[in-house]
């Protein structure tokens, strides 16, 4: 067993374990914290895959900003606990069956196509995935999509404000 494989397997174990505990924990705050751990494990995987810039973006944007927003809303609404009563009996088994079916399909696709992408990763230089190389391609070839993203974020911001303002106007 090479050191790479051991490293990958331990990170993968952390990622899957935190994802499962996120689904299993009744308290939404615990779910959010487990999801943060999951994002950090995936960020470590990005680092192993020579994606330094994406790893940092993952930590700051996903594990930082987005999860803080989630925790904020959970604590603002005070709906941490999910009540179990009144839950339809067939929901859990049907959901489990569908999830397992999907996982089996994905496994089949991956294993049947293993010849095509089962090989090792290509050798890449130091430059690959660095902020400088991403920035170069982002600001030349993908300049217009990049600018459109800024408009999208502006629209989301305005949308979030408008959705909260509307309630205030109605209540007056």
């Amino acid at each position: 067993m090479s050191i790479d494989l051991i490293l990958f397997l331990s990170i993968a174990l952390i990622a899957v374990a935190t994802a499962v505990s996120m689904l299993a924990s009744r308290n939404a705050v615990y779910s959010a914290l487990f999801l943060v751990l999951n994002f950090l494990a995936v960020a470590a995987l990005y680092l192993l895959l020579n994606a330094a810039f994406i790893a940092i973006v993952q930590v700051t944007v996903y594990a930082g900003a987005i999860m803080v927003l989630f925790l904020f809303v959970i604590m603002l609404l005070g709906t941490e606990e999910e009540q179990i009563d009144g839950r339809s009996k067939w929901q859990m088994p049907v959901a489990l069956a569908m999830g397992v079916t999907l996982a089996a399909e994905l496994a089949y696709v991956l294993l049947s196509g293993a010849g095509e992408w089962g090989g090792s990763f290509a050798r890449v230089g130091e430059e690959f995935g660095s902020p400088a190389s991403i920035g170069r391609i982002l600001f030349s070839e993908y300049l217009i999509p990049f600018e459109i993203t800024s408009v999208l974020l502006l629209v989301a911001m305005v949308g979030a404000i408008v959705l909260t303002l509307k309630r205030k106007r109605e209540s007056q």
């Binding site: 989630f70 999910e82 991403i134």
Partner: protein
Amino acid sequence: MNIPASYVLTLSAVLFALGILGVLIRRNAIVIFMSIELMLNAANLAFIAFARSFGPATEGLRGHVFVFFVIAVAAAEVAVGLTLIVSIFRSRQSIDVDDVSSLRG
């Protein structure tokens, strides 16, 4: 990293299936939202794995750029989605998705 690319893709598939499972079994709207984030993250992992296995040319970096855009769109989606959840909570005092069924025919 000196392991087969299919290992990383398998991990991505497992995380995606767990995300689907979360959407199906949980009823708390916020936890469902977090499961959707988990699925987006699994897709990003597959993008990064493919970017790495298609090599050092700029072809590979396109995968990274795509992940960058996915993260930006996810941020926008979370901002709007959480606002929707807050306004649903204000009108119904609950974010249980089974309670929000007024569109049911």
